[in-house]
Structure formats: structure tokens, C-alpha cells
Symmetry: C2
Subunit: 456 residues, 2 copies
């Protein structure tokens, strides 16, 4: 018996899992740095007894950022090397008042799900994998792969430290397979192998006009209005048909092969199913592409937030002095992140409304998207392990989301990525009331046990 | 000696003024109702010793709103009746962190200005007038006009209670002259008589899509994005040349007469002066109209605020579930407020992006704009009084701002409006660090003393 079959072990695992979740490790928020460091130290303490040499690493010139946990456990002579990647940082918890339970107090409800920020993304998923790995190591296998673990604290905000660090520690990262547990299974928990991910980059912009908020009567019709300006600027990014209006942004978009397209469509969610999950019809994005194409094979520019002026009850008749917007882009092969960002920036400058000053408050060029060859040996092995776990077998997916640093780790480690996760849409990652089902947690543990055995 | 010439009286007046300013009487905020009631009671206590019968009035069916202070003091037999209007409510104080002193702690600085929310708009202006009135009454004049005073607590949010109440108490409001002290003097404190005001209405809108915030990778290209939607919707309100794109909105705009236009242009602020005051060039509004025309004689649709999604540091890659915008409109003769609002609402519904639900969270049809005949006896009298106060004499102005309830009071009282105030652009009303100079306060006192004498 191992994992959740043993009530005592289940209790231990849940206790540990809840401890891990209680750290409000919002990596993007400098005010939460201490919480991130505490979380990293907790992980070091957890890994050491499993025979890992653990280091908390800091990228040069990035001392004020969450540390990277690097752990290594030498395996049997001649066995392959596994590099496992996860992230212990989580998304900010706002809007606070939409949470039914406190965002950093894990709550196991009667529906068999644990509610907490990070319950799934990625604390729940990587920790379930690590618990399965512990089962595997404790089961006394004949051969054990060398296991390297990288857990970072900035995935949700661009992985700056690990991206800078990875080329420096290239030799220590070297591995045969790069395992990642930070993605979703297909509909109804059918196993899924991630055959591609979109890249991501982000840019935070600001428009300024007057030195202070102005009375909208005294100044209306004269003063440039940044609230109107930001609306016009953001609206200018798309054409009426939903396509991207930024010149040059889509120049190097490579369409999928017929095989990729067919495999993706076979695993596609139906519009009805989508609406049931999200409460909205899947009518966003570009006209002339299928739902799967728009999500897996087309780039996007999304507005993640706009804030300017008054938002309270009643009226405040003000012309705001400034406005901010948060934008993020999803990139597909073979878009070059720096070129795509340059195209956006050029567009924003050209479309800055009269009388306003544009500033780029922050930006990351981010990571490229990638697609992996379906016929690789690692994929064949994974497919047969997943078929043992679920008679339906695995599907291939090209996720719309991104784990930007995977591109970097892929290059620096020389390893073949094997990205298998057990998320489901009802987990509501990045949103209030994020959760992870115990059945999903168990699946991830089982996957770890089995794939480590198969790779040994 | 009276007013600020007498050091002891100056001390008393400043003490009273500061007491009045300390009430955080934000009429739009239900949480501040108690503060508004306290402020109204303070005003009752202040007015009673001057011989006024004072009542706190509540409009029928509006019990949870700030009361209207109504005061009346019978004058000499046969003397005319003055109706004085002011408002004791103030704008919300946000953004809090932009204030250099606490927003509700009046601070007299070395520059001779009192810093506080409401220091000018309208507590400072109406209270200075009332202090001048007290001087006048205490000076033992031979004839005294009958004085009626209306001080309301909802001017900044649409004057709902007074608008409902005024027709009910029509007979008690009846007067010959309607005095208002809630506007600005011209450049360099040259006296100004308000010959017109724009009307105002507002509408608070909301767009909803998914039931919860969505991950912008998982859902990007599929889910409708209300942050993008609100930008498109707001941008659709104007044409690229800055003119209003809402069909029907400008149908009944009456241009100024040649005399009005000439008088307005004579008192116009220069673009250089404007930029010095606000930090921004006056390049907002419609192409093809002068600065004065755009501010005084053209209607506007202004965006007062947009809030949606993430606004913090770093990136939060989310597709927000909803977005809000706050819009207000300035109306000119002969636009009909209800028709203008209907045009806006029709436009918003027609332009609601696919997959999103529009709700009107709140709206006021508001008040019409008006222009007064320049050749009236009241204007001639006021001009001669102001010429005594300042050898440069008065200019006529058509303010871009609004005191919506003045239209209502004008109709219900049958009085000729005489709107003279002493605001200056550096007062920064509606913005952080609002202030009022003591020299302005003194001017308003002097105006009250003289005009009440002249009208008696």
C-alpha cells in the first residue's frame, strides 16, 4: 500500500500539503518575498530526508527575488537522469471578496476537493508528484534514476531568476528527460501528454496626461482624458473580426501539421461543454479559425487589466490624470518573442493618443512557444504508462497556456520534455476559489510512481 | 471692521470653517450618511443664531439620503427675496495616497491656502458667503432682504433628494434672485458672472462574460474578454477626430449667439496658461472648435473611470470575468437630458461586444444646460457691484461644469440666477490636495456683504 490507500500516509500527506499551501507565496509581489523564502526553506526541509542534496539558489544580481530550490539525488550507475520542474509561487489572490474560504487556508470540502490559492497551480500538482516519487523511492526499486529537481518561485511572473540562472548551471541541469506536472488532463480526466505550449510575454503600460485629476466639467472638451485614451489604445490592438491589428506581430506564425491538427481536434472540448464550465460561449478570438486552432495554434494579445479613475458608487466626475493597462501575449512557433514585443511596443507608441505620454512600466520578452515531435521514444513510453493507468489511453494536447521556463530548461538541460498534468477546468486556477480534487492528486502520485519506474 | 480685517473675527471664522471641513460628508457614499447628517445639523446650529428658522428636510421615499438644510429669515417689508443655494457634500477623497495632508483635516499652509477636501467645492465658497451675510446682518442695515437658504448634500452625485423635493416646496422656494457661490472667477481673480452652465448626467455600466476570472493561456483566443470589451465599447463613443460618435446625441445642440461667443472668447484662458495650470496641453475634445467653444458650448462624453482585472505589480495572466466603466455627459442648450441618455444607452447596447452582457448599474438623466440673457437687470446690478470690488470689472463666463439642481431651483423658485464664485484652477477641486486661498474666501465674503446690500 502506498499513497492515499494507506489512511495514515494520507493523513501525513494532507498535513504536509496544507502546510505547503499556507505560505502566501505570491512571487510577483515584493511584499511577499519573505513568504516565498519560507516556502522554499520548507521544501528544502521536506526533500532532504529523501536523500536529496538541496540548495536554495539566487541568480546573480537578483538577490531580492524568490530563491530557486535545486535538489539532486544520485541514482543507480548507468540509469538515466530525470529533471523535474515545478513552481512554488502562486497567482495573487485578488479579488479577495470572491473567495468562499480564506485564500491561503486550505479547506477540504465534502466534494473531495481542497480549496486554496495554489491548491492546483502548481503546488498541488508538483507536490503530488513529489509524494509519488517518495513512494517510488521507499518501495526499494532495483534501479533508480538520478533525480534532479528545480522548484522556482517566479513562474507566474516570468521566471526571471531561473531564466538567468539556468545557463549558468547548465552542467548541473543536464538530463535525459524533463518532467513537468503543471498542466491539465483532457475532458473527464482522460490522460493527456502535452505536445506543445504557447509562449508568453507581458507588458505593463501607463498613460499620463495632466499632473492631477481634473474636474470633468471644468476641463471636459479640453483636457486629454487618459481613461478614454487607454480604451482607444487597447481597442486598437484588434481588428473588428477579432484578429490582431499589430503590424508584424503574426509574421512568423507557423500553422500546425495535418497530424497535429487532427490530434488536437480529436481531443477538443465542445462549445456546449465549454459554456457549462465557464458560463460563457467560446466566441472570443479570431473569426475563421476553429476553437482548437484559436486556443492551441494562434497567438493572442489579451488585456489582463485596466485601471483608471473612479470605480465606486455614484458618480465622480473626474478626468483621471493617468491610466494603466496590463497586457499579455501568447506566442506560437515560430514567433520570436523579442520581435513580437518590439511590434507591440511600436504599435503602442504609434497609437498613443494626442496629449498623453506612454510609459512602459514593466515588460518581459518572455518565452517562445514550442511543439514536440509526436513520434519520440519518450512520448511512446509515456503513452504506454498512461494506458496502464487508464484504459482509454492518452491524448495529445497543445495547450494554450505557457510554462515559459520550460523552453529554457529544455535548451539548458538537453532533455526531452515530458509534460503530463492532471488539472481540470473546474480547478479554476488563477481565479478565486481555486481547488484540486483528491482524485487528481492521487492520479499525479500514481503517474510519478509509474513513470519513474518505467524510466529507471 | 468686519471679516478678516478683525483678527478675532478671523480666528472665529477659521475655527468654524475648519469644523465644517472636518465632516467627511461624501454624499455619494452610503457609508458616510451619518457624517452628512452631522454636517447638516452643524449647519442648522450655525444658522439659527442669525435669526433663521432652520429645517432639515428629507424627500419623500428618500430617507436614507443626506438631508436638505432649508433656512428662512424674513426681511424688511417690501424688500426682495433672495434664495441662496450651496452644497455641503464633497467629492470622494480617493486616491488617498496622493494627498500631502489628511483629506479631512484642514491645514492652513504658509501659502495662505487651506488644504482639505471641500476647502473650496463647495463648503469653502458657500461658507464664506454665509460669513459675509452674517457681517451684513450684523452691520444693522436699514432694509434687509428676505433670505432663504438651501444647502443640500448630494450635489456631487446628482441632487436626487433636492430635485424630488423642490417641486413639493415650490411656494417656500419662491424668490426674486437665486444666488449661487459654487463657480470660478476668471484668470487672475478677475470677477466673473456665470452666464451659462452645462448640464450633466451620468451612467455606470458593467460588462460580464464568464462566471469567474479565466486563465489567459487556457482560455485566450476562446473566451470573450470584458477588459478588451470595455475598451472597445468606450472607444466606440468617439470618432477619430474627437467628435461624439453616438447617433442622436448631438441632434439638438444650439450654438452660441455671436455676442455670447465674443464675450466667452474675451475671457478665454490661453493654451500656455492652461498647460501651466494642468501640466497638459489643451488638445482634448473635438477638432474644428476653439478651446472656449469645446469647453463652454459643446457637449461631452467623458470616461471618469474604468476598472477591470489585475492592476498590481508584475503580471497576472487572467481574462477578467467583468469590467466596469463610469461615464458622465455634459449637456448644452437645447439637448434634452432624457433623450441624450437614451441615445447613449442605445449606442452601448448596439456596441456591446459578442459574448458579453451589458448592465446599466446606475444612471441619472441629470439636468439640462442653460444660458442666461446678458442684458438682464440682475446682471447689470451684479456687474456694477463687482466693478466696485475690482476696477477691472466682471467678465461673463459659460462654465463647462454643471450645478444640475440650479435648473430645478430656477424653475421652482421663479428667481433669476446670479452665479458668482471665486474658484481658481489651482484649487484642484475634485482632485487630491484641494485647497482654497484665504484671499478667495475674503472675496466671497465681500461679495455677499455687497450684493445683499445692493439687493435690499
Amino acid at each position: 500500500m502506498s499513497g492515499f490507500d494507506d489512511p495514515k500516509e494520507k493523513e501525513t500527506i494532507l498535513e504536509e500539503y496544507f502546510e505547503l499551501l499556507r505560505f502566501p507565496s505570491v512571487g510577483a509581489d515584493p511584499a511577499r518575498l519573505k513568504n516565498c523564502v519560507d516556502c522554499a526553506m520548507w521544501l528544502k526541509k521536506w526533500l532532504s530526508p529523501q536523500g536529496f542534496a538541496v540548495e536554495l539558489m539566487q541568480a546573480p544580481k537578483m538577490l531580492g527575488t524568490p530563491p530557486v530550490v535545486f535538489a539532486e539525488r544520485r541514482g543507480s550507475e548507468g540509469a538515466p537522469t530525470i529533471l523535474f520542474y515545478g513552481h512554488y509561487d502562486v497567482q495573487p489572490e485578488d479579488p479577495l471578496d470572491a473567495w468562499e474560504t480564506p485564500p491561503f487556508e486550505p479547506t477540504l470540502k465534502d466534494d473531495g476537493r481542497v480549496y486554496c490559492r495554489g491548491a492546483q497551480d502548481d503546488k498541488g500538482q508538483f507536490f503530488a508528484f513529489l509524494c509519488g516519487m517518495r513512494n517510488f523511492l521507499e518501495s526499494g526499486p532495483e534501479t533508480i534514476p538520478t533525480i534532479k529537481i528545480v522548484l522556482e518561485g517566479q513562474e507566474e511572473s516570468g521566471s526571471a531568476a531561473l531564466t538567468a540562472l539556468a545557463p549558468e548551471i547548465k552542467d548541473r541541469l543536464r538530463a535525459d528527460v524533463l518532467l513537468v506536472c503543471d498542466t491539465g488532463a483532457a475532458a473527464e480526466m482522460r490522460p493527456a501528454i502535452m505536445a506543445g505550449l504557447r509562449g508568453v510575454s507581458h507588458i505593463n503600460i501607463r498613460l499620463d496626461a495632466a499632473t492631477h485629476d481634473l474636474h470633468s466639467g471644468e476641463h471636459g472638451g479640453i483636457a486629454p482624458n487618459p481613461a478614454q485614451g487607454i480604451a482607444e489604445l487597447v481597442a486598437s490592438l484588434h481588428n473588428p473580426d477579432g484578429s490582431i491589428a499589430v503590424r508584424g506581430f503574426c509574421d512568423r506564425v507557423t500553422p500546425p501539421t495535418d497530424e497535429e491538427r487532427a490530434a488536437a481536434e480529436a481531443a477538443a472540448v465542445s462549445p456546449e461543454e465549454y459554456e457549462k464550465i465557464t458560463g460563457v460561449a467560446p466566441v472570443g478570438g479570431e473569426e475563421g479559425f476553429t476553437l482548437t486552432e484559436r486556443n492551441s495554434f494562434r497567438p493572442t494579445i489579451e488585456v489582463n487589466g485596466i485601471h483608471t479613475g473612479y470605480g465606486g458608487p455614484g458618480a465622480k466626475t473626474v478626468i483621471p490624470a493617468s491610466a494603466i493597462a496590463r497586457l499579455s501575449m501568447r506566442l506560437v512557433p515560430d514567433q520570436i518573442p523579442a520581435d513580437a514585443m518590439a511590434a507591440i511596443e511600436r504599435h503602442l507608441r504609434q497609437h498613443t493618443p494626442r496629449g498623453m505620454r506612454l510609459s512602459i512600466e514593466e515588460r518581459t520578452d518572455g518565452a517562445a512557444g514550442f511543439r514536440l515531435p509526436l513520434a519520440s521514444p519518450v512520448f511512446r513510453l509515456a503513452a504506454s504508462v498512461l494506458k496502464e493507468m487508464d484504459p482509454r489511453g492518452a491524448v495529445y494536447q497543445w495547450d494554450g497556456a505557457s510554462i515559459p521556463v520550460v523552453s529554457t530548461l529544455k535548451t539548458c538541460s538537453g532533455a526531452a520534455p515530458l509534460i503530463v498534468g492532471f488539472g481540470q477546468p473546474e480547478d479554476r486556477i488563477h481565479a478565486p476559489n481555486e481547488s484540486y480534487g483528491l482524485h487528481q492528486f492521487e492520479r499525479a502520485m500514481e503517474w510519478a510512481r509509474r513513470i519513474l519506474g518505467a524510466l529507471a
